[in-house]
């Protein structure tokens, strides 16, 4: 079984029998074409819509399924009379339409509200057309069919547009995207970029939030002190005692000495370091408290 030939767009118009039970990939039925097949009744294909109003009751459901909406059925009825929409004979169409609706009813067919609505609308138009017209209102009153005709025309435009769209070549039916296996790729994921401003904004946010906790006191030493604290700790990280004086670097000048001293004080205060002096005025040694 192959489907490609059937997929060709021109197939929709050739009118080959279509079994609705089998999904053939063909464009949808076009019921306005009198020769279109639309149903299987007791194993026989009904290849034509009935010329008269009679359709085999078993086919009714399928028949109605061939029509998208009530407007569609109406269009079909009009076309079957070889009439232009603009020449619509409301009386006759209404009669035919109503007979279909009655037939549905007789079959306990659950009627769609839309079909009944359309029937009511047709009946209304018909009655208006039968009413004698007073010459005074005549000027203002448009043909009662006008609105129906507009709706039919508008619907028909999009029905046609849908058919056009359906028959256009499209991906996965007549067209395929060509692709090939990619080469071996070593995909490296770049590390996130961070702007210092983001860091600052984040800090600002933390601080703002932290201020809501009254119990927190966030005191911040100057950054150079904090930085120096880290450096001292790192120096001490290897364990053991480090001579106090070795932490001071003369080349940093007086400010550097002060910063280091403050860092040591802060570290002491936080119990992070231990100072050991074995004798008075003897050398002071420092050790990380936890190491």
């Amino acid at each position: 079984m192959t489907n490609s030939a059937e997929n060709a767009p021109e197939e929709g118009a050739t009118g080959e029998p279509e079994n609705p039970a089998a999904d053939t990939g063909m464009p949808a039925l076009r019921p306005e074409q009198g020769e279109m097949p639309f149903a299987m009744v007791r194993g026989e294909a009904v290849t034509e819509l009935p010329k008269d109003l009679y359709i085999p009751p078993q086919a009714l459901e399928v028949f109605l399924d061939a029509f998208e909406v009530p407007l569609d059925l109406l269009l079909y009825l009009i076309r079957r009379q070889n009439l232009d929409i603009l020449d619509i004979d409301v009386a006759q169409i209404t009669e035919q339409y109503m007979r279909y609706v009655e037939l549905m009813d007789a079959m306990q067919f659950e009627l769609a509200a839309e079909y009944l609505l359309m029937a009511a609308m047709l009946a209304e138009i018909k009655s208006r057309m039968l009413l004698p017209r007073s010459s005074e209102v005549e000027d203002d009153e448009e043909d009662p069919r006008a609105n129906l005709v507009r709706r039919l025309q508008e619907y028909e435009r999009f029905k046609k547009a849908a058919e056009d769209l359906e028959s256009m070549p499209r991906l996965e039916r007549e067209l395929w995207q060509a692709s090939a296996a990619p080469p071996d790729l070593r995909l490296e994921r770049p590390l996130p970029e961070v702007d210092m401003r983001e860091v600052l904004l984040a800090l600002g946010e933390v601080l703002r939030r932290a201020e809501m906790y009254a119990s927190h006191q966030i005191q911040m030493e100057s950054l150079s002190t904090r930085e120096r604290m880290s450096q001292v700790l790192e120096t001490l990280a290897e364990g053991g005692f480090v001579p106090f004086v070795s932490l001071f670097k003369p080349e940093e000048g007086r400010l550097g000495v002060v910063v280091t001293f403050l860092a040591l004080m802060e570290l002491m205060k936080e119990s992070l370091i231990e100072l050991v002096q074995t004798e008075g005025f003897g050398p002071i040694h420092i050790k990380a408290k936890s190491e």
Binding site: V69, D87, A146, F158, E166, L171, E174, L175, A178, S179
Partner: protein, 235 residues
């Protein structure tokens, strides 16, 4: 064999498996080696020419260029798959057409024209396929979503832009309405009837809106890809 611009584009187009824009092609290159848009366009031209007599061609669609199997090979290539291509119901195609031609459009407006409710499944399927998307909400009670088609829709139907859709049929003038009931319309009414189609839509829409509102009800949820049985006639 040289890894020239043409070869790189060929490789990228085939590896991508989706259309590539000129912009995206440019980003295949580091800044210092990046060809100009003109150079890329010239290379695309070469890529296109090099498809001559091949089983594929380079086409331009809405989101860029893609290699695509030649349509006249569909008969054979289609046999690669046992499964038939997805079918869409007429209700879905009509809804899609309305969105394509009348976008941005609300569900209510679609229903006005089609005269029946649009099933939720149809909208869902269209959204899932990424053929349509919500582009806003109409400022009326209920703030209904307005739908428009997407680039994927154009890509799927092998189109560069909406312009390439087949033109909508003209609406014929109504002034030659002639009664079949022997009720010839007096001459003077004809100018009142002869509304241009744009003007006609408004009044028609109003009536249809009432209809749609009256007929509004929950629709049976049916498989969209199934045969055209979408509407309410079975409930």
């Amino acid at each position: 064999m040289e890894a020239g611009l043409v070869q790189i584009l060929e490789g990228a187009l085939l590896a991508a498996g989706e259309p590539l824009s000129v912009q995206r092609m440019a980003l295949l290159f580091e800044e210092n080696e990046r060809p100009s848009k003109e150079e890329i366009r010239a290379a695309i031209q070469s890529v296109e020419e090099r498809c001559e007599d091949r089983g594929y061609e380079l086409v331009q669609v809405a989101s860029g260029y893609r290699f695509q199997v030649r349509q006249d090979l569909a008969t054979w290539v289609g046999r690669l798959w046992q499964e038939r291509p997805a079918r869409y119901s007429r209700a879905l195609m009509e809804t899609l057409s309305l969105i394509a031609y009348r976008q941005p459009i609300t569900r209510g407006e679609i229903e006005e024209i089609r005269g029946v409710a649009v099933s939720t499944n149809i909208i869902k399927t269209l959204l899932e396929r990424e053929w349509v998307r919500v582009v806003g909400h109409r400022d009326v009670p209920g703030r209904p979503a307005m739908y428009a088609t997407t680039r994927q829709f154009l890509d799927y139907f092998n189109l560069k832009s909406l312009d390439q859709l087949p033109p909508l049929a003209e609406i014929k003038e109504l002034d030659n309405l002639s009664g079949e009931l022997g009720l010839e319309l007096p001459e003077q009414t004809s100018d009142a009837d002869a509304e241009p189609d744009e003007g006609g839509e408004a009044s028609q829409s109003e009536t249809a809106a009432e209809d749609a509102a009256t007929a509004d009800g929950e629709q049976p949820e049916l498989e969209d890809a199934d045969d055209a049985q979408q509407d309410t006639r079975t409930d």
